[in-house]
Symmetry: C2
Subunit: 499 residues, 2 copies
């Protein structure tokens, strides 16, 4: 079974997003933060202990640097008040982290965030294009942690994990009641360590125990496909995020497709939350002719720097970019530049709208401030922040692509009225059983649609949605979403490509 | 027209709550914050400028106090990083306030808050039992700022403002589109200044212009009533909050009721968010016999101090306390102590659950940290925080007491399904027109109920809820809520009193 790249990307984003809300939708500016570090540590090596050992001039400079503190007198006062008087004991470290987070909050910029050492490590893993674990894509299905697919060549595949295996225990501990993120944390671990999973496999009566040795799991960010359309060969390159190796992988993939006689290219950045700023530039240099503007960067003083292509030339085949509401940041640079500087079509839906560039500024103790330093502008000088980029050809996916997992506590039946019924109605409609309405009121038509679905799925036709029927509806919808034939946006992109 | 005290209290809480979320539900410990102030300002008079003028010993002490700063090195580093690098100019003051707010946020205590000078002033007004303005209770009715009632003896009453007057303009400026809080801010102002209101009065074709000179408006917190039950005279004292004059007013009210031959007392603290810690103690001393525990206070080290009654004796008449989910803090001290130490019944619903004591600690520049310093415990040593106090006799108000204002953009009719329809259904039910269901689905029964209401209200019986019908339904519900006959909790309290 092939792993659809979109789902791995989602998982990756999940792990990081849960650590530091919103931090992943980011662009990194410098390769590393040395400049910021030097600047921010200038006070760190001066303290009162060695005051006597300083020259008179140095003493003066020290006191001056302390008087720069005047702004923070009030913070210090508050720190002492809280620390000495609050009804519970207070950890100094948590007050310090709170103060930093609080200063960042005043910026009202969701992309300027404080990352403690642990969050920072997760973030680095995502940038480094790999993590350590067993290498399986998992998902919550009917409240069970379920294997969607093992990644090719991973320990999970070698140990024989199969799609739809349900994980009951990790190293003897039940994962019941855990959310997906916590369950994933238990399964992950350092390279070389072993984990035992207790598995419930469909069609197997007793639970299985499977031992797996964890390893480095590469996080692929570039996936290639080809499609034949009216005898013409279209290449598809999907980029799921921009991490350290993405541009190299992209160049390789493109070269291979070109050598194989591709007659048109679709670049798919749907659901791609962004990543390294340098990476998307390298990719764009393939397509934007030498000396033309790839992107502009504006600093706090309004001064603009233009980044020019130094190598590319216009390709002799047509290109289309696929994007959606999950395409953010570096993905938007790619889309905007391909359109403005390259004149290519953008197919899909309006993009996310993130027009700023962050840099991780290390604090010297493993923690980091990821701070917005610049705005990026399109080649024509447009700032897309909080606006997004309009597609030139708008296509939405079918409505059922946007439904949520079904969770049923009490069965739903005729004349019920509930938010969750809405979701089920949209799914039934997607499965070709018209529920009459999709506003949450369980009408007679909805009942008939449920009965029709139940007959089709080999269930008793009760017209009531209990847990079993809800689960089957969800499975059927997941299958529809994964069926390439239903990817209306891709179909449009191919159609537009050879117009 | 009598102003129902409950509504003034609500307004007061609104004005303050909007300033500093949750700050009003508080108890003040010290009469003023001198002790805290002295402690928190000890660093403030030392700075680098006069370093040279200090003796060697003082210099050493200064540097030592600075090394207490080591904890804050990282905050300073972050302050500089943000200030020097963020994509926009950053105000130092807002970073400082953000840092303080951020430290308080780590406490995860909604009652420990930072108040800037403006918020502090509003807070003081509520504690001081008065504010400056015109003295009218206002409310939003169909998106218009509407006079509910002028306060007795206020400039608003003297100028002839009447209930249901709609305020169109304040000093020539339209208030359309403003929320209630912003409109109130425009109407309020310093004693002695004049404000001109343009008023739309029902039955008057042209708008009226009314000039009003603002004055001090006392905020009454104690309201007295008497009820005759089976020939027995019950006194009712409602306390809407515990501010500076509350205990004096309470003593006066009680004395008067006792002199008038009251045979039983109901103390009503429903919707009372709390206030001054000293105040509720003074009130409890009336009822709790000398040497018995009124309340206990526990500090951060777990040490408990007991506050004893120094004067009271058990009353020779029965007493009942009325409380609800809006009774918090000082109100809960009153309820818990009356029950545990006095053995009196508590009628109503479970109280809010706030078991901590705050103190405002001035920062010296007009701003203040309101910090939780202590827990309070009931006489028996129970901590009610986040639990609330269970009534001994549970009674809820009718369901329609808990509905929200009706806002109708598009008319609702048969077969619609909407959150807002729920609200309307609960109201119709309260008005005696059974809508069949109250889950938001506009059924045939709901249509019939609307028609019945429309006939009763002299409207065309369309069965459709448009803005006009919605407004009439809301008016009718407000009248029901204000009708003492529908106050089930009060009725129960009276019944229990003479059991």
């Amino acid at each position: 079974m092939n792993v659809k790249p979109r789902y791995i990307a989602l998982l990756m984003a999940l792990a990081v997003l849960l650590g530091a809300a919103g931090s992943y939708i980011g662009i990194e500016y410098f390769a590393n933060g040395t400049e910021g570090q030097a600047k921010t540590e200038q006070y760190a090596d001066k303290d009162a202990d060695n005051f006597a050992s300083l020259s008179e001039e140095e003493q003066k400079a020290f006191l001056q640097s302390m008087s720069g503190n005047a702004d923070l007198k009030k913070v210090e006062q508050a720190f002492n008040v809280i620390q000495e008087n609050y009804v519970e004991e207070v950890e100094k470290e948590s007050l310090v982290e709170g103060a930093i987070q609080g200063m960042l909050d005043t910026l009202e910029d969701p992309y300027s965030v404080y990352m403690d050492p642990e969050t920072m490590e997760q973030f680095n893993q995502s940038i480094e294009s790999s993590f350590q674990g067993i290498g399986a894509e998992v998902s919550m299905v009917n409240d069970k942690v379920t294997i969607v697919a093992p990644i090719k060549g991973s320990p999970a595949e070698e140990a024989g994990l199969k799609p739809n295996d349900q994980i009951l225990k990790v190293d003897g501990e039940s994962v019941e009641g855990l959310d997906l993120y916590d369950a994933v944390l238990k399964i992950r671990g350092e390279k070389g360590t072993e984990v035992t999973l207790e598995i419930d496999r469909p069609g197997v009566s007793e639970p299985l125990n499977i031992d797996i040795t964890r390893d480095d799991i590469p996080l692929e960010t570039v996936y290639t496909d080809t499609k034949m359309v009216d005898g013409k060969k279209a290449g598809v390159i999907e980029i799921t995020s921009f991490s350290e190796k993405t541009s190299d992988e992209f160049h390789e993939a493109l070269e291979k497709l070109e050598n194989d006689g591709m007659e048109g290219l679709i670049i798919d950045v749907r659901g791609n939350p962004g990543g390294l700023f340098t990476d998307v530039q390298e990719i764009l240099k393939e397509f934007i002719p030498k000396e033309e503007v790839i992107v502009q960067v504006e600093d706090r003083n309004g001064e603009k720097e233009r980044y020019l292509s130094d190598s590319g030339e216009k390709k002799d085949y047509p290109i289309t970019v696929l994007m959606d509401e999950g395409s953010a940041s570096a993905s938007e640079i790619l889309a905007a530049t391909m359109q403005e500087a390259g004149g290519y079509e953008l197919v899909g839906t309006k993009s996310f709208g993130k027009g700023t560039v962050q840099q991780a500024l290390p604090m010297g103790d493993g923690s980091t401030i990821k701070l917005t330093l610049f705005k990026w502008l399109t080649p024509d000088g447009n700032w897309v922040h909080e606006k997004g980029i309009e597609p030139t050809v708008e296509v939405k996916q079918p409505e059922y692509f946007y439904t949520n997992p079904v969770e049923i506590e009490e069965p739903f039946e005729y004349n019920d009225n509930h938010e969750k019924v809405k979701n089920i109605q949209v799914m039934l409609k997607g499965l070709g059983h018209d529920p009459g309405r999709t506003d949450g009121y369980y009408s007679k038509e909805t009942e008939a649609a449920v009965e029709a679905f139940q007959e089709e799925a080999g269930l008793e036709a009760t017209g009531v949605v209990n847990q079993e029927t809800g689960g089957k509806i969800e499975e059927a919808i997941i299958a529809e979403v994964r069926n390439e034939e239903n990817d209306k946006q891709m179909q449009k992109a191919v159609e537009v490509l050879f117009q």
